[in-house]
Symmetry: C2
Subunit: 349 residues, 2 copies
C-alpha cells in the first residue's frame, strides 16, 4: 500500500460562493493537502477563512502565488482564469478551472468524472470544469447513453440564483423581504450583473441566464448545447436548451426530454440502470409523491433523478426531472472530484 502524499493546493476565488464550497469540500472529503494557499482579487485579500479549524489569510492572486502549487482550483471569473491559469501551469501546477474561459478549447479536457474521467490523461496543464446545468444533465444521461445510445435532448431548466454568485442570493433575499413588507426595491444584479437591464427575481421567473447571442439563444443555453456534445464525445447529438432563473437560492432543476437509439427500452429498465449509476440517486415513486426537489438537494454531492416516464407519442422518447446542488456537483464538488481523479490516476504526483 502506497502512502498518500499531500499536495499543495491553491483555491483562486476563495471568498466567492463557489470558492467557499470548494474549501469546505476539500475539508469534508479530507483531500490530501500538505499546504493550502487561498487566493482572491485584491478587493477580497486579507479576509480570513477557516479550514480544518485553522485560520488562513486570503492573499491577492499574482503569477508568483503559484510557485510550488500542485493543483490550483480556479473560480474567480473568466478574466482571472485567462490571465493567471497559464501562469500557474508555467510554474508546474495543474489547473482545474471552473469558469467558461477554456471549456471549448480543443486542447483542454472538459471533465465530469462519471462521464469522461479518462480525458484527464490528455490535459496540457488546464482542465475545465463544465457549466453547472450541463454537469447534472450529463451525469444523469451518461448511463442511458452507454446502454441504449442517445440521439436527442430537449431541456428546460429551473436554475437557482446562487449560480450568479453570492450577491444574487442576497438580492433574492432582499427583494423577497421588500415585497413581503410592501416596500420598494431596485433590481441591480439579475438576470446578468453586466447586462443593461435588471429585473425582479423574487416571486418571478426570468428566461435569461447569461447574455444573448446573435442567434437568439443565451450563452448559458449554448454552453449546455456545446459542452454536452464535447463531454459526451457526441458531436452529432441533437441538443436544445431553454434556461430560466427562478427565485430559489440553491439547487438547479431540469425538465429533460431525450430520445435513445435503441428500440424497446422500458421505463423500468431506465430506472434500474439509474438506481446504481455513479453519482446518481433515483427518487422516483409517483404513487408516494417521491421525486427530487431543489430544497432537498442542498448540501449533497449527488444528482437526483425522478419522474421518469415514456413519451406518449415516441417509443424511443422519455421524460425525466433532474435536480442537483449547483454549487456542489455543479461546481465545487465536480472540481474537487477532478482533483481526486488526478490523484487516483497518478496524473498529479
Amino acid at each position: 500500500m502506497t502512502e498518500v502524499k499531500g499536495f499543495h493546493v491553491a483555491v483562486v476565488g476563495a471568498t466567492g460562493a463557489v470558492g467557499q464550497q470548494m474549501i469546505q469540500t476539500l475539508e469534508t472529503r479530507n483531500f490530501p493537502i500538505s499546504k493550502l494557499t487561498l487566493l482572491s482579487s485584491s478587493r477580497s485579500a486579507g479576509k480570513v477563512v477557516v479550514f480544518k479549524g485553522e485560520e488562513y489569510t486570503v492573499q491577492e492572486a499574482t503569477p508568483e502565488s503559484f510557485e510550488g502549487v500542485d493543483i490550483a482550483l480556479f473560480s474567480a471569473g473568466g478574466s482571472v482564469s485567462k490571465a493567471l491559469a497559464p501562469e500557474a501551469v508555467k510554474r508546474g501546477a495543474i489547473v482545474v478551472d471552473n469558469t467558461s474561459a477554456f471549456r471549448m478549447d480543443e486542447n483542454v479536457p472538459l471533465v465530469v468524472p462519471e462521464v469522461n474521467e479518462e480525458e484527464l490523461h490528455n490535459h496540457n496543464g488546464i482542465i475545465a470544469n463544465p457549466n453547472c446545468s450541463t454537469i447534472q444533465m450529463v451525469v444523469a444521461l451518461q448511463p442511458i447513453r452507454n446502454q441504449y445510445g442517445l440521439k436527442k435532448i430537449i431541456v428546460s431548466t429551473y436554475q437557482a440564483v446562487s449560480g450568479s454568485g453570492a450577491a444574487a442570493v442576497e438580492e433574492l433575499n432582499r427583494q423577497t423581504k421588500a415585497i413581503i413588507n410592501n416596500e420598494s426595491f431596485e433590481p441591480q444584479i439579475l438576470p446578468v450583473g453586466s447586462d443593461k437591464k435588471h429585473y425582479q427575481i423574487a416571486f418571478n421567473a426570468i428566461p435569461q441566464i447569461d447574455k444573448f447571442q446573435e442567434n437568439g439563444y443565451t450563452y448559458e443555453e449554448m454552453k449546455m448545447i456545446n459542452e454536452t456534445k464535447k463531454i459526451m464525445s457526441l458531436p452529432e447529438l441533437q441538443v436544445a436548451a431553454t434556461c430560466v432563473r427562478l427565485p430559489v437560492a440553491t439547487g438547479h432543476s431540469e425538465s429533460l426530454y431525450f430520445e435513445v437509439e435503441n428500440d424497446g427500452v422500458s421505463v423500468q429498465e431506465v430506472k434500474t440502470l439509474l438506481e446504481t449509476a455513479p453519482g446518481v440517486v433515483l427518487q422516483d415513486d409517483p404513487a408516494n409523491q417521491v421525486y427530487p426537489m431543489p430544497a432537498d438537494c442542498v448540501g449533497k454531492n449527488d444528482v437526483f433523478v425522478g419522474r421518469i416516464r415514456r413519451d406518449l407519442d415516441h417509443s424511443k422518447g422519455f421524460h425525466m426531472w433532474v435536480v442537483s446542488d449547483n454549487l456542489l456537483k455543479g461546481a465545487a464538488w465536480n472540481s474537487v472530484q477532478i482533483a481526486e481523479s488526478l490523484v487516483k490516476l497518478g496524473i498529479v504526483k
Copy 2:
C-alpha cells in the same frame, strides 16, 4: 342597430380566487347584466361582495338558485359543477364551467375563443373552460398552426400557486415569511391539497401539479395533452407536458418546443404572425432583454410570447416562451370571453 339587452348572470364560487376575478372581469368588461346572482358553498354563503359599487350577499348554491339565470359561470370545484351544472341547464341557463368536470365530454365544447369560438354553436347547455396552462399555450400556437401546420409540442411549465386557489397563495406567503425569519413551518396544501404529502413551495420547485396517474404523468400534464388535441381539433397532434409549481403567486410561464408541418418557415415570419394574432402580445427583443415574465403579466388579459428561436438541429422546430395571468386568460377572462362570444353569436338571447 339592436339594443344590447342585459342578462341574468350567476357566478358559482363567487368567493374563490377565480370567482373574484370573474366578478371583477364582468365589471371591467362592462358585460351586459340585468341581474347578478353570486353563489357559493354553504360555508362561504353570507359573505358580501361589491360589484359596480353595489353590495351583493353571496347565497348558498342550490338547484333553485338557477331559476331565470341566462348564463352561469361555474368555478367552485368539479363536484359542485357535476351536481349543479345540469340543474342550471335544466332551468334554461347556459353554463360556462371552469372545472375539469366536463372538459373531455364529447358532448361539451371546450372553448378558447381565439381558437375555436365556432364550437359554441354545438353546446348542449354546458361549455367547458379549459385548464389554465392549456389555454395560454393554444392561444400562442393557433396562429402558427393555421399558417404552417402543427405536428408536435413538448412543453415544460412554470406554474404559479394561485392555480391551486387562494389558500395556496397564503401558504406561499406564510412559508416565505417563516423562512426569511428563520421560523419553522408545516406545509399543508401544496402540491395538492387532497394528496397524501405536502411540500415546501417557498424557494423551491415542485414537479407535481394535481395527482399522479398510473402512467407516471400527473392529471395536469394529461389535461394539457388531451385538452390541446380537443381544442385544436388535432387528435393526431403529438403533445408532451411536464408541469412544475413555482414560488410565484400569479402568472404561468411555459417553455415550448414545437414543430410545424411546412418547410422553410423563418423565425421572423413566426414573429410577424404573432405580432397581430388575437389575444397575443409579442415581447421578443433579446438585444434589449425584452421577453415576457410572470411578474409583468399580472392583471392583464393577454398571452405574452417571446424568446422565439429556431431549433439548431431541426429546421421545422422552434422554441418559445409563453406567459399569461392564470387567473385571467387562464380562467376568469376566458370564461367571461366565452360569455361575450355567446352574446355576440346570438347563442344566448
